[in-house]
């Protein structure tokens, strides 16, 4: 999915277009890894289109679907079978989820973060009528072309990626694909997409450093100082609240991303994330790009900036454009050339002065331009082949991206990244729209496919170690 590049509605449309174009291959392991890995047929069809999976209380697998809520399954570690589905939060509409003890947190497409409990232990969360809690502890995070993304929780700390409301981090004309702050329409809909730019939350890895300090009240963890809804120019351009440091509020951990969709943790608790870059041509200087008008693919995919993979570092600047906040906060210095700049682990073309090669998804260097690198997970099975040991696995999802010169790239695969070298290997392909991955702690990597065909819900496959 050129995922959050086009906003959620755009992403769904893109997925459907891709499916209609005839992508019908079955998932399969790439040749170098076939002796060691196999793809297991769909373990379960999901209720909707999944966006993140996580392990919850009693070892159940929880799946967030952006259009059908949260469903949990019992999982069998021997067979990989999923059974006994429970509609945990039927009304949820979001991307990310995670657990802190028995408490569920999930993001919403409306720009919220919800805390929900299951006090009666029936597996259904937030049954307010029965005394359970369903509190939108943050609401009104400005969204537009991107949304509030995946969540990870480690210890008492919650991390969430927050995409930009703009298409490119800019303010003014042609910065909103789906939004316009001045009464018009976004450029995807034929308008000029004129915006105020992004708020302090947008394009950030945000965190609640100590979930135990969150007050049980609506909007209690919102760090904005001004009313968040509806968004105003003052909120977008002048509210520094998210840069505060209150441990019980959602604040900025690091910034300078575009759409940090996939969040994942290694065994030591280090946070990594994928970042969907916009359609832009590199200038080779490590930072600056030429944005393509109306987010078009442009004439030369070879020189386009790739999606990125970062190790999250507190206080880091990941270098993306931000017309509103650069030079106004220490975390985002003007020019993105401060000492806190963190570069992508994988080659992204930003520092490549050329010559440029067309990205080959089967032999990837970097994550690829417009690849919609999304969910990620470490797959630490001891039985993996040495070339994949310790690698981070990422789902890529973009049915087809073609430049005006006729170059076309298709992504529907799972790749592995050596996070120490940035080397990328394709491991499996033939999915429809893979978007989320999760290790089962043993011999399988679960892969969530966003859809299994036009108008159809998604499915969960697994890459299993052959034993």
């Amino acid at each position: 999915m050129d995922g959050m590049r086009w906003g959620w509605a755009g992403a769904v449309a893109a997925a459907l277009i891709g499916l209609a174009s005839g992508a019908s291959a079955q998932p399969a392991i790439d040749a170098p890894y076939q002796p060691a890995l196999k793809v297991e047929t769909a373990l379960a069809a999901t209720s909707g289109s999944p966006t993140q999976m996580c392990w919850g209380p009693l070892g159940r697998l929880y799946v967030m679907s952006h259009d059908a809520g949260i469903v949990s399954y019992r999982y069998n570690w021997l067979t990989g079978k999923l059974s006994s589905p429970i509609r945990a939060v039927p009304s949820a509409r979001g991307i990310g989820l995670g657990f802190h003890g028995a408490v569920l947190y999930y993001s919403t497409l409306a720009g919220g973060l919800v805390k929900a409990t299951d006090d009666d232990g029936d597996g259904v969360y937030g049954e307010v009528g029965q005394g359970e809690r369903s509190l939108e502890i943050v609401r009104g995070i400005p969204s537009g072309d991107h949304a509030v993304d995946q969540i990870q929780i480690v210890g008492d700390t919650l991390y969430v990626g927050i995409g930009r409301r703009t298409i490119n981090g800019r303010a003014g004309a042609l910065s909103g694909g789906t939004i316009d702050d001045f009464g018009g329409s976004g450029f995807f809909y034929g308008g000029q997409g004129v915006t105020w730019g992004d708020s302090a939350y947008n394009g950030a890895i945000a965190w609640i450093r100590d979930l135990t300090q969150v007050v049980d009240a609506v909007d209690s963890a919102n760090a904005f100082n001004t009313p968040a809804s509806p968004p105003t120019r003052a909120l977008i351009q002048d509210d520094f609240g998210p840069y505060s440091t209150s441990p019980g509020k959602l604040t900025v951990h690091s910034a300078g991303t575009r759409n940090p969709f996939g969040l994942c943790l290694d065994a030591g608790g280090r946070l990594f994330f994928t970042n969907n870059y916009n359609r832009a041509t590199t200038l080779g200087d490590g930072t600056n790009v030429v944005d393509h008008a109306r987010d078009g693919v442009g004439s030369d995919l070879r020189a386009s900036v790739h999606d990125q993979l970062f190790l999250a570092v507190e206080g880091a600047d990941y270098g993306y454009a931000d017309d509103v906040w650069r030079g106004r906060t220490s975390i985002l210095p003007a020019g993105a050339i401060g000492a806190n700049r963190v570069a992508s682990i994988t080659p992204d073309n930003l520092s490549n002065p050329g010559p440029y090669l067309l990205h080959d998804p089967a032999r990837p260097v970097g994550l690829g331009p417009s690849s919609s690198a999304n969910g990620c997970a470490f797959f630490d099975s001891a039985a993996l082949p040495p070339a994949l040991a310790g690698n981070l696995f990422i789902a890529r999802y973009n049915p087809s991206v073609a430049d005006s010169s006729g170059r076309t790239i298709r992504y529907a695969d799972v790749i592995a990244v050596d996070v120490t070298t940035g080397e990328v290997k394709r491991v499996a392909t033939g999915f429809q729209n893979p978007i989320a991955v999760l290790w089962d702690g043993a011999n399988r990597l679960l892969v969530a496919d966003f859809t299994t065909g036009t108008g159809k819900p998604g499915a969960i496959y697994s890459l299993a170690v052959a034993r």
């Binding site: 996580c54 392990w55 919850g56 209380p57 009693l58 070892g59 019992r74 069998n76 570690w77 021997l78 067979t79 079978k81 059974s83 995670g98 657990f99 802190h100 003890g101 028995a102 232990g121 990870q152 929780i153 480690v154 210890g155 994942c264 943790l265 290694d266 065994a267 030591g268 608790g269 997970a377 470490f378 630490d380 099975s381 001891a382 290790w439 089962d440 702690g441 043993a442 011999n443």
Partner: protein, 176 residues
């Protein structure tokens, strides 16, 4: 049953480390799985599994999955209080799982599970899952479970062979 036939084959697998999932950065699941196999009248073997979670473990045990032969034909399955089971004969798997919020085997406690089979023990895969979100960890290895058809007549010699299989399973226990 004679005293001799009451001799159980006990295999204890000490699990000091498992496979920590990404979200378990601070989790440390310390647990052991042990099995006692005793022949019973009518050609049955009774398999008794005990799960013990160490007092210093940061995670409780929530699920125990054990591979068995597709011919195991398990009978008389017993699960710990608050736990249920799912026996998939065709897949050769039995899964015991905590089915209530207060059912997980807490640190410093244990739980027992049992079933009958006419098959003698062999080394089979198992998975023991520890979860206290965001902590999550899976221990795996091999343990004695129904895997070997017993030719008539059953004898102590067979028990001896079964013991050897079980010990082979111990030697093959995998650590993450």
């Amino acid at each position: 049953m004679t005293r001799t036939r009451r001799i159980a084959i006990a295999i204890v697998l000490a699990l000091v480390a498992g496979r920590g999932a990404a979200s378990s950065a601070r989790a440390d699941f310390l647990a052991t799985v042990a099995v006692a196999v005793a022949p019973e009248a009518g050609g049955w073997f009774r398999y008794e599994y005990s799960v013990e979670v160490g007092a210093t473990s940061t995670l409780p045990a929530v699920q125990l999955d054990i591979a068995v032969s597709v011919d195991a034909d398990l009978q008389g399955v017993e699960a710990a209080d608050g736990w249920s089971f799912d026996y998939d004969a065709a897949a050769g798997a039995i899964s015991f799982f905590a089915d209530a919020v207060d059912a997980p085997v807490a640190p410093g406690s244990s739980a027992a599970f049992a079933f009958l089979s006419r098959l003698a023990p062999a080394g089979m895969d198992y998975f023991l899952v520890g979860v206290d979100p965001p902590g999550f960890e899976v221990l795996d290895g091999m343990i004695a479970a129904p895997g070997v058809a017993v030719p008539e007549p059953s004898s102590l010699a067979l028990l001896g062979a079964a013991a050897c299989l079980g010990l082979a399973g111990l030697a093959g226990a995998r650590r993450g």
